[in-house]
């Protein structure tokens, strides 16, 4: 059995596919969850809504993501709800991500002058149109660097899904190590693989930022 670099790489690439699935799934949950949460915090007049969201955000952000994954995977299983490792990882990291992006978006919305929205309402746009055409485009532009940071952090954090046996890069790496003992080669390959996913993502965000900068 050939356990050279290419063979190791081939095995770990299977894990990379899982890592990407988890990243994408979690990112979708984080965006679609974080934005409504942030809008609720900024625009609601009901204090209770703000309190509930604040508790959620603090809870998610101040407990290790690994603990959330254990609760979803082992904890729910104990009460009869069985999630696959992949689902638990996507949901868990997504819920943490929604809390992180909620904070990011709230910051972006607060940084926008209220006059921007008032001007949109004053020309006769509805609140929804004001949000869509005036507030959100500016908010996304302001928060793009933070969203980029979150994205690369998320991809790296998929490694903890190996702890609930989601078959991602570190999961395969550890299995390979225990069966072949080629520790340096295997972990070095894993590191290269992570870097080759995260770096392009960071570059893409940096490029997008510069594009938007250049337009102004």
């Amino acid at each position: 059995m050939d356990n050279g670099f290419l063979s190791v790489l081939a095995t770990l690439l299977t894990g990379a596919e899982t890592a990407l699935k988890v990243s994408l799934g979690a990112a979708v949950i984080a965006m679609t969850g974080g934005l409504p949460l942030a809008l609720s915090v900024v625009f609601t007049r009901i204090a209770l809504v703000r309190v509930v969201i604040a508790v959620y955000v603090e809870w998610m952000r101040n407990v290790p993501a690994l603990a959330h994954l254990f609760v979803l995977y082992f904890g729910l299983a104990a009460v009869g709800i069985r999630l696959t490792p992949l689902t638990a990882a996507i949901v868990g990291l997504g819920m943490v991500g929604a809390a992180i992006l909620c904070d990011v978006f709230v910051g972006g919305l607060r940084a926008l002058h209220v006059g921007q929205r008032e001007a949109a309402l004053a020309v006769g746009l509805t609140p929804l149109q004001s949000l869509r055409f005036v507030v959100l485009p500016q908010m996304l532009r302001l928060t793009l660097p933070s969203i980029g940071n979150y994205a690369s952090q998320l991809i790296k954090d998929t490694s903890i899904a190996s702890a609930i046996a989601a078959p991602e890069i570190m999961f395969y790496a550890r299995n390979l190590v225990t069966s072949t003992f080629q520790t340096p080669l295997i972990y070095a390959t894993a590191i290269l693989l992570y870097a080759s996913i995260v770096l392009p993502v960071s570059w893409l965000f940096a490029l997008a930022e510069r594009r938007l900068e250049a337009r102004r």
């Binding site: 002058h113 001007a119 309402l121 004053a122 020309v123 006769g124 509805t126 500016q138």
Partner: protein, 262 residues
């Protein structure tokens, strides 16, 4: 015959325990330019912002061409307040120019002026752009249509904001201290545009600290202090021959006495 375009009756506004407007009433005729003057904190900006319900007044009625603004139903003093969504078509009838311009920095000048035509009126892009360029012509900035607002001077930005309000084809335009945030050398170009609009016979309400401009351009002036209308009348009467002591004191403080021989 010359029925009022806008009627404001008994407008009151409080923030917590602080009453900022204590019952403001006035009329505006069609084609008239009215200027609100008064010391800082007199309530003139708040009053202006109540007219399109960017501030919700606690009491009082605002009627624009027979249409009650901001409240449901036709019985004065009754009916719930409209939501921002319900207010949108009414606000569309009222242009507003802000002290700090509030152009949208992510859109070109052309799109700033055309956005609401497309989204609120459902106009197609080429018609909206044509209208936008026509309005930019009026403020002498058609050549800046492709620029982003940040590339323009403050005076140019404010003129774009005026074009944006004109593109609403509004029945009434509100100016909230349109030159207060401008460097002194840029004030003239903005006042020039406002003067042209006044001469066209637009209906406008102008909150301003430019007393001399108010005297020259406005048909009527209202002097406000402490949330009350203190004095109201033809611009030259109020500014050159004020009847009330408080008006005289204010005009003296802003240095208009010596010029005007009060």
């Amino acid at each position: 015959m010359s029925e009022a375009l806008l009627t404001v009756d008994g407008l009151k506004k409080s923030y917590g325990a602080t009453e900022v407007l204590k019952g403001i009433s006035f009329d505006l005729k069609k084609g008239e330019t009215l200027s609100l003057i008064g010391p800082s904190g007199s309530g003139k900006s708040t009053c202006l912002r109540c007219l399109n319900f960017l501030e919700r007044p606690n009491e009082g009625e605002i009627v624009l061409e027979g249409e009650r603004i901001g409240r449901i139903g036709n019985v004065a003093g009754h009916g719930r307040f409209m939501t921002d969504r319900e207010l949108a078509p009414q606000r569309r009838e009222i242009g507003m120019v802000f002290q700090l311009f509030y152009l949208w920095p992510h859109l070109t000048v052309r799109d700033n002026v055309a956005l609401a035509s497309m989204k609120a009126d459902g106009m197609n892009r080429s018609d909206a752009y044509a209208l936008a360029e026509q309005m930019l012509d009026k403020v002498h900035l058609r050549h800046k249509a492709d620029e982003f607002p940040e590339r323009l001077s403050g005076g140019q930005q404010q003129r774009v904001a005026i074009a944006r309000a004109l593109a609403q084809k509004p029945k009434l335009i509100l100016f909230d201290e349109p030159t207060s945030a401008l460097d002194p050398e840029l004030v003239g170009e903005v006042l020039g545009v406002i003067r042209e609009l006044a001469e066209e016979g637009r209906s406008m309400i102008l909150v301003t600290h430019e007393i001399r401009f108010a005297r020259d351009v406005a048909d009527r002036v209202i002097f406000m202090d402490g949330g009350h209308v203190i004095e109201e009348g033809p611009a030259k009467d109020v500014i050159c021959r004020p009847q009330m002591e408080r008006t005289r004191t204010f005009l003296g403080q802003v240095g208009e006495t010596s010029d005007l021989g009060i």
